[in-house]
Amino acid sequence: MKKFMFVNRKPPYGTIYALESLEVVLITATFDQDVSLVFLDDGVYELVKGQDTAGIGIKNHSKTYRALEGYDVEKLYVERESLAARGLTEDDLIVDVEVLSSAEMADLMAEQDVVLSF
């Protein structure tokens, strides 16, 4: 089993990155790999509660993060500095996450076999 880390750094709807990341995470989980998701920079916006995409004609994929648990994807990490820079707290997020400092995140990243960026 390899350690896969998915690093999400983009807001949810301006580009296809956030949705594509979710797709690849689900595929990787199917192969019984050790999967971690990391949310940094504008990637933290992917997890914000209260997303309503009815007006823009795009599927609201934020609810999918809640389904990850069902695929045994339970390691979700958010960088404290990225949250703070955007006036967000853990309570603003749609799922339970572990909030890490930049230094802790750097250590976690260094432990991975594969890092995929979105």
């Binding site: 750094r9 990155y17 940094l40 930049s102 250590d107 260094a110 890092v115 960026s117």
Partner: protein
């Protein structure tokens, strides 16, 4: 770990995030528009905890050959492959 940055630091914060989430002794390869970071002495100084490389074909393509800060290592495509092979993992800061 090998970090790879391909955007100008004036355009995105990729380099800034890379620096924040890197550890001393790791490597950073600047490619494509990322090479502009290596033309600023201040920026290069802020990267001194990392082993710094630039991809020479991208430097030359942008006319920056004479502007890269002294001491920054240049690699060609084969060197890029070597760097990837030498490191156990890599992270592209897209």
């Amino acid at each position: 770990m090998l970090h790879i940055v391909n955007k100008s630091p004036a355009l995105t914060r990729s380099l800034e995030s890379c620096v924040r989430l890197s550890r001393p002794g790791q490597s950073l390869l600047l490619i494509e528009d990322g090479i502009y970071a290596a033309t600023s002495a201040d920026t290069v100084a802020s990267l001194k905890h990392l082993k710094l490389y630039v991809l020479q074909p991208d430097v030359e393509a942008r006319g920056m050959k004479g502007r890269i800060v002294e001491g920054v290592a240049a690699v060609d495509y084969a060197g890029f492959v070597d760097l990837v092979a030498e490191h156990s993992s890599n992270q592209s800061w897209l």
